[in-house]
């Protein structure tokens, strides 16, 4: 299978890339390519130009300070999964990165590419929603930082406008939280981040992804657990609320109804594990 014909642009700097993308509305940036190249092969997109990003080293880093983890848009899933800073400061992001697709895809796939592509079957949204991460976006002469929640609008649709690129993902470093991530490949996933004071749950964040169309925070379920002791009755009720509040799209492997049920089951399992203190 060959991709359709396109021109290829190798920019020397981020500014050059941004300028070219702004002037050529149907040009597409290429990061890891493991979503974009299959789409080209299937003729789902026919861009005039592909703009190569992989050599732009100023987008390729993992940094942190006391409060925030900064993931350059070209940080690969495998780099994020194996980086000790990420493991220590935001383990839920590390854990989610380590199960994306397969090892070869994690070696090429980038966090910026995954978020910009907004494929419905992606893992990162769950961890970025529970940590309340932000996305830094650049265009020629402009920069803006937006919450990740709301950035992905629908399948393959984001807040990005012509000429804009994701340059960084900023993840707050939260201390004293435990987490859990439960998933079935390509089907459904739930992430939980939780902080207790003594016996009482003082903060809990639950998010679902992989079910499509985009990742979602499950706030109705969170409300049930806030300031509770996380007894089995409230966990049951939270799982039920989680199940009721999602609206999955069916896939060849699973009906919408089945995915809904999985969200309920995974919410319960993730809550139990996070309550058990995994961190």
């Amino acid at each position: 299978m060959y991709p359709p014909k396109f021109g290829y642009v190798i920019p020397d700097s981020l500014d050059e890339a941004l300028e070219f993308l702004e002037k050529n509305e149907d040009a597409r940036p290429l990061a890891g390519g493991y979503s974009l190249i299959p789409m080209l092969k299937l003729r789902l997109i026919r861009p005039s130009y592909i703009v190569e990003l992989r050599r732009l080293n100023d987008l390729h880093y993992i940094k942190s300070d006391d409060k925030t983890l900064y993931l350059g848009a070209l940080a690969t899933h495998n780099e994020i999964a194996t980086d000790q800073k990420v493991k220590k400061s935001v383990p839920v992001v590390s854990a989610v990165s380590s199960v994306i697709a397969d090892p070869q895809i994690r070696n090429m796939g980038t966090i910026g590419g995954e978020l910009a592509q907004a494929d419905p079957v992606t893992d990162h949204p769950a961890s970025l929603l529970v940590t309340e991460a932000k996305v830094k976006i650049k265009s020629k002469g402009n920069e803006r930082i937006v919450p990740f929640e709301g950035f992905q609008k629908d399948i393959y649709t984001t807040d990005l406008k012509t000429g804009e690129l994701i340059v960084e993902v900023q993840v707050p470093i939260l201390k004293g939280y435990t987490y859990s991530y439960k998933r079935m490949e390509d089907t459904a996933a739930v992430a939980v981040l939780l902080r207790k004071e003594g016996e009482v749950i003082k903060d809990v964040r639950i998010a679902a992804s992989l079910i499509g169309p985009v990742g979602t925070r499950l706030r109705e379920a969170e409300k049930v657990l806030m300031d509770s002791k996380g007894d089995s009755k409230s966990i049951e009720e939270a799982s039920k609320k989680a199940m009721e509040s999602v609206n999955p799209i069916p896939s060849p492997r699973a009906s919408a109804e089945y995915k809904k049920k999985l969200v309920g089951v995974y919410t319960k399992r993730a809550l139990l594990e996070a309550m058990g203190g995994k961190q």
């Binding site: 060959y2 991709p3 014909k5 190798i10 090892p103 070869q104 090429m108």
Partner: protein, 163 residues
């Protein structure tokens, strides 16, 4: 900035199995095709959709699926294919282990399996069975001969420890 137009060919250079190669590619050409045309036909085309892993190679030290990388994109990179593993007549320990444990049936997935095993053992010289399974989760064997493949990787890990 370099712009290669649709019908234009770009000059690319790769270091493949230790030797320099230079060729010309159209932007739409995939790395797997370019490598096969340069004679590295051990790089197989299986599903062509980045699922099966038959086209797995090592590019700049990482295992990747060459059916989902453009030839132009890989310009300047260092590539290792199955042809580069043996030293003359002497097979690589992973190849030997696949042979001894019969880690193949039809053999179509084998080059990709071996290259992925190579990367796995480089990063984790002493993998558990679970880690081996996860490590080759991006490689499909249509004959479903996974048990012997896993045994072969275990044996290779054992033998490579001493090296």
């Amino acid at each position: 900035m370099k712009v290669i137009e649709q019908e234009q060919k770009a000059k690319v250079r790769y270091k493949i199995n230790g030797q320099q190669y230079e060729t010309e590619v159209e932007p739409r050409r995939l790395l797997v095709h370019v490598l096969r045309e340069l004679g590295f036909t051990g790089v197989h085309i299986g599903c062509d959709t980045s699922h099966c892993g038959a086209c797995t190679i090592i590019m700049d030290g990482k295992s990747v699926k060459s059916c989902t990388i453009l030839g132009v994109e890989a310009d300047g990179s260092e590539i290792l294919t199955i042809e580069g593993l043996a030293q003359g007549e002497k097979l690589h320990p992973i190849q030997e282990a696949f042979w001894e444990k019969h880690g193949l049936q039809c053999g179509y997935c084998t080059p990709g399996m071996i290259m992925q095993s190579y990367w796995l053992l480089k990063n984790n010289p002493n993998p558990s069975e679970e880690e081996i399974k996860e490590g080759i989760s991006g490689n499909l064997c249509r004959c479903t001969g996974y048990q012997n493949i896993i045994d072969a990787i275990k044996l290779a890990a054992e033998r490579m420890k001493g090296q």
